[in-house]
C-alpha cells in the first residue's frame, strides 16, 4: 500500500483523540439534564475521531507521503532548537542577555552571517527593543540574575 498524506494526517488525529479520551476518565459526562465537565470534551473527541476516520478512508485521493517537500526541515529544527534554548533560560538570564543570544544564534549560527555584523545586529536590536518596551512602554520584561 502506498502511504498517502491523509493516511498520516487522519491517523495522527485518531491517535490524539484516543490519547485525550484516555486522560478524560476523571471528567464526568453527567446527564443531558445536568451536563458534566466531561460532556463537551468527549463529544468533541468523538467528532475528531470520526473526522479522522473519514480522512483516513478517503486518503487514497491525497498526494503520496513522499511528495511532501521537507527541504526546509533543517532550518525549522535549528530555529526551534535555538529558540527553545533561549526560552528555557529567559526567566533566569533576563531579557537583554537572552534576546542578544537568540538574535546572535539565529543570524550567526543559522544564517552564517559574519560574526561582527551578527554581534552588532544582536546587541543593537536588543537595546532598541529594551528601550521601546521597558523604558518607553513601561512593559515588565524578565530581569534575570543580573537585573536587566
Amino acid at each position: 500500500m502506498n502511504l498517502r498524506r491523509d493516511h498520516v494526517g487522519g491517523a495522527a488525529f485518531i491517535l490524539i483523540g484516543a490519547l485525550v479520551l484516555s486522560m478524560s476518565d476523571d471528567l464526568p459526562f453527567g446527564t443531558l439534564a445536568s451536563p458534566g465537565a466531561g460532556m463537551m470534551p468527549k463529544l468533541v473527541i468523538a467528532a475528531m475521531i470520526a473526522f479522522g476516520l473519514i480522512l483516513l478512508a478517503r486518503a487514497r485521493a491525497s498526494p503520496a507521503l513522499a511528495a511532501i517537500a521537507w527541504d526546509d526541515f533543517p532550518h525549522a529544527v535549528r530555529l526551534i532548537a535555538i529558540t527553545a534554548a533561549c526560552v528555557a533560560v529567559y526567566s533566569w538570564l533576563g531579557f537583554i542577555i537572552t534576546m542578544s543570544l537568540l538574535l546572535f544564534g539565529l543570524t550567526f549560527l543559522v544564517e552564517r552571517k559574519p560574526i561582527v555584523s551578527a554581534a552588532l545586529f544582536s546587541v543593537g536590536v536588543t537595546g532598541f527593543a529594551y528601550g521601546l518596551f521597558r523604558v518607553a512602554l513601561k512593559s515588565p520584561l524578565p530581569q534575570g540574575v543580573l537585573w536587566f
Binding site: R5, D6, G9, F13, V20, M23, D26, L27, P28, T31, L32, A33, S34, P35, G36, A37, G38, M40, P41, V44, I45, A47, M48, F51, G52, I54, L55, R58, S62, I68, W70, D71, D72, H75, A76, L79, I80, T83, A84, C86, V87, Y90, S91, M99, L102, L103, L106, T107, E111, F121, V125, T126, A129, F133, L137, K138, S139, P140, L141, P142
Partner: protein, 508 residues
C-alpha cells in the same frame, strides 16, 4: 436613520480626538508594513502587537488593532505588484496581473489603482457596517442560549463550507480548536480539565500564544531565508498616476469588488481571500477581453484589491453585532476587547456607544489616512523590502516572544507558542488550514456554556433547539449548507481552484 447619524457624530467626536487619531495612524502605518512584509500576515501582526495596547483604553486599542488589519490589506498589494510575492494571503490574485503590469512599466499605475480601489471599497464597507450592524445587534438581543448554540454551529459550518481546503480537514481543525478550548477550569462545575497540575493552564490556553505560534512562527519555520526573493521593482513618483483608459477600465471592477467583498466578508471563513478570488473570477467572466487576464489586465488588480478590503470590513459586522468571530483576526480583535473588559456582541452598541461608534468613525478616517500614506510613501515602504530576510526573521521571532510573554507574563505561554509554531509547520506540510483551529479555540467557552445552559433549561430535551424559531432557522441553514458541501465534494468547485491559485499564484 437620524439616530444612526447622531451616533455616528458621537463616533467622529471620539475618532477626531488627537490621541485616537494618533493610534489610528500608528495602526495604519504598522498594518501597511505588516501587509508589505512577506511572512507576517495581519493575524501575526495583531497578535504580536496586542500586548502593546494593554496600557491603552479600549477605544484606542481597538482602533489601532483594526488599523493594522485593514492597513495590511492595503500593504499586501505592494509586494504582490512589485515582487510577485503576496505580502498576505488575500493578495495572491493581485500578483497575477499586478506583477504583469509592473513588467510592462505600469507598476505605479497598478499601485494607484490598488490603493484607490482599496479606499473606495473600504469606505463602502464602513458605510454598510454603519447601516447593518446596529439593527443586527438589536435582533441579537433576543438571543438566548439555544439561539447562541445554533448560531455558533452555523458559524462552524459556514467556516467549513467557505474554507479554501476541503470540508473534513476544516472540521477536524475546528474540533481540535474546540478541544484546546476545553483546557482549564470548567466554569460550571469547577473541575480542572487537562491542566496537568500546571497552574497557568487553569485559566485555559490563550488565543495569542496559539495564534502567534501557528501563524507567525509557523510561517517563519517553513520559510528559509534562501527561498525569499528580494528583487524589487521601484516605481518613481511621477509614474504613479494611471492614464484615463486605466481609470475607465478599473471603475466598474472596483464597484463590483466592493459590493461582492462586503457580503462575502460577513460570512465566516477566509473571507477576504475568497472575496479576492471570486472577484477575479467575476471580472474575467464579464470582461470583453478575458484573454488579457494574466497579462496585465487592470480589472485583475482593481477587482480583487477592492474585494479583499471590503471583505475585511464586512467581517466586523458579525463580530460587533453578534459577538461572533468570522475568522482568526476578528477572534483576536474580540480577545483584545475582552482583555479591556468589553464583551463584543449585541450589548456593545448600547452599553459602550463611544467604543462602537468611535471604532466605526475611525475606520472612515483610517481609510483616508491609508490612501494618503500608500501612494506618496511607496518608496519608503519598498525600502523596507530591501532588509535582508536573514536579519528580518530573527527580529520577528524576538517580537513573537516579547508579545506572547507580555500578555500574562507567563513563560508557559511562550512554550505554548513554540509548540504551536512546530504544530503550525507540520499542519502546513499536511495541508491543514490552521485558521479553523483558532476559531474553535475562541468560540469553545461560549459554545460549551450555551449548549449546557440550553440543556439545563430544557431538562435535557434536545428538542429545545427545534422549538425556538430563530434557533431552528439557523439549524436549517446549517443543514442546507452541509447538503451543499456534500454536493461540492462530489465535483470540482471553486475551492480547488482557490487552493491551486494560493499554492502557485497561477491564473484562475
Amino acid at each position: 436613520m437620524e439616530a444612526t447619524l447622531d451616533s455616528l457624530a458621537l463616533g467622529f467626536s471620539v475618532a477626531f480626538r488627537p490621541d485616537v487619531l494618533l493610534y489610528a495612524f500608528l495602526g495604519c502605518m504598522v498594518g501597511t508594513l505588516v501587509g508589505i512584509l512577506p511572512g507576517i500576515g495581519p493575524l501575526a501582526g495583531i497578535s504580536i502587537l496586542l500586548p502593546v495596547t494593554f496600557g491603552l483604553d479600549a477605544t484606542k486599542a481597538i482602533v489601532m488593532l483594526a488599523g493594522i488589519y485593514y492597513g495590511s490589506q492595503y500593504g499586501g498589494s505592494t509586494t504582490s505588484i512589485l515582487m510577485r510575492i503576496p505580502g498576505e494571503a488575500a493578495s495572491v490574485m493581485t500578483c497575477i496581473d499586478g506583477y504583469a503590469m509592473a513588467q510592462k512599466g505600469r507598476a505605479g499605475a497598478a499601485l494607484s489603482i490598488a490603493a484607490v480601489g482599496s479606499f473606495v471599497a473600504g469606505t463602502f464597507g464602513v458605510v454598510m457596517l454603519t447601516l447593518v450592524a446596529p439593527p443586527l445587534a438589536g435582533l441579537a438581543l433576543r438571543f438566548g442560549p439555544p439561539e447562541y448554540t445554533a448560531l455558533l454551529v452555523l458559524g462552524l459550518v459556514l467556516l467549513a463550507y467557505m474554507s479554501s481546503t476541503s470540508l473534513v480537514p476544516t472540521l477536524l481543525m475546528a474540533a481540535a480548536g474546540l478541544l484546546l478550548g476545553c483546557i482549564g477550569i470548567d466554569v460550571m462545575s469547577g473541575h480542572f480539565r487537562y491542566s496537568f497540575d500546571i497552574k497557568e493552564l487553569g485559566d485555559g490556553i490563550g488565543i495569542v500564544p496559539v495564534a502567534v505560534g501557528l501563524f507567525g512562527l509557523g510561517e517563519i519555520l517553513s520559510t528559509p531565508s534562501g527561498t525569499v526573493t528580494q528583487k524589487v521593482v521601484s516605481p518613481r513618483l511621477r509614474e504613479l498616476l494611471p492614464n484615463s483608459n486605466e481609470w475607465r477600465l478599473s471603475a466598474l471592477p472596483i464597484a463590483r469588488g466592493s459590493v461582492l467583498g462586503f457580503f462575502v466578508g460577513i460570512v465566516p471563513g477566509s473571507a477576504h481571500i475568497i472575496a479576492s478570488f471570486l472577484s477575479y473570477a467575476v471580472e474575467k467572466r464579464v470582461s470583453r477581453t478575458p484573454e488579457a487576464f494574466g497579462h496585465g489586465a487592470v480589472a485583475g488588480v482593481a477587482g480583487p484589491e477592492s474585494a479583499n478590503n471590503s471583505a475585511s470590513t464586512g467581517a466586523f459586522v458579525p463580530m460587533l453585532a453578534l459577538g461572533l468571530p468570522t475568522g482568526p483576526v476578528t477572534a483576536v480583535l474580540m480577545a483584545a476587547l475582552l482583555i479591556h473588559g468589553i464583551p463584543p456582541g449585541p450589548q456593545l452598541v448600547s452599553e459602550h456607544p463611544d467604543v462602537f461608534w468611535g471604532f466605526i468613525a475611525s475606520m472612515y478616517v483610517g481609510n483616508l489616512m491609508l490612501l494618503a500614506l500608500n501612494l506618496p510613501l511607496v518608496g519608503l515602504f519598498v525600502s523596507v523590502l530591501r532588509i535582508p530576510y536573514a536579519y528580518l526573521y530573527p527580529l520577528i521571532v524576538m517580537f513573537c516572544i516579547i508579545g506572547v510573554y507580555e500578555v500574562s507574563h507567563a513563560i508557559v505561554d511562550v512554550w505554548i507558542m513554540l509548540i504551536m509554531g512546530a504544530v503550525g509547520y507540520l499542519l502546513r506540510k499536511f495541508d491543514f488550514d490552521p485558521a479553523p483551529l483558532v476559531l474553535g479555540l475562541v468560540i469553545a467557552p461560549t459554545f460549551e456554556l450555551s449548549l449546557r445552559q440550553s440543556l439545563v433549561m430544557s431538562g435535557g430535551d434536545w428538542l429545545i433547539f427545534f422549538q425556538r424559531p430563530i434557533a431552528v432557522t439557523l439549524l436549517a441553514l446549517c443543514a442546507g449548507l452541509l447538503a451543499l458541501a456534500v454536493v461540492a465534494l462530489l465535483r470540482k468547485d471553486w475551492r480547488g481552484r482557490l487552493a491551486r491559485a494560493q499554492a502557485g499564484g497561477e491564473e484562475a
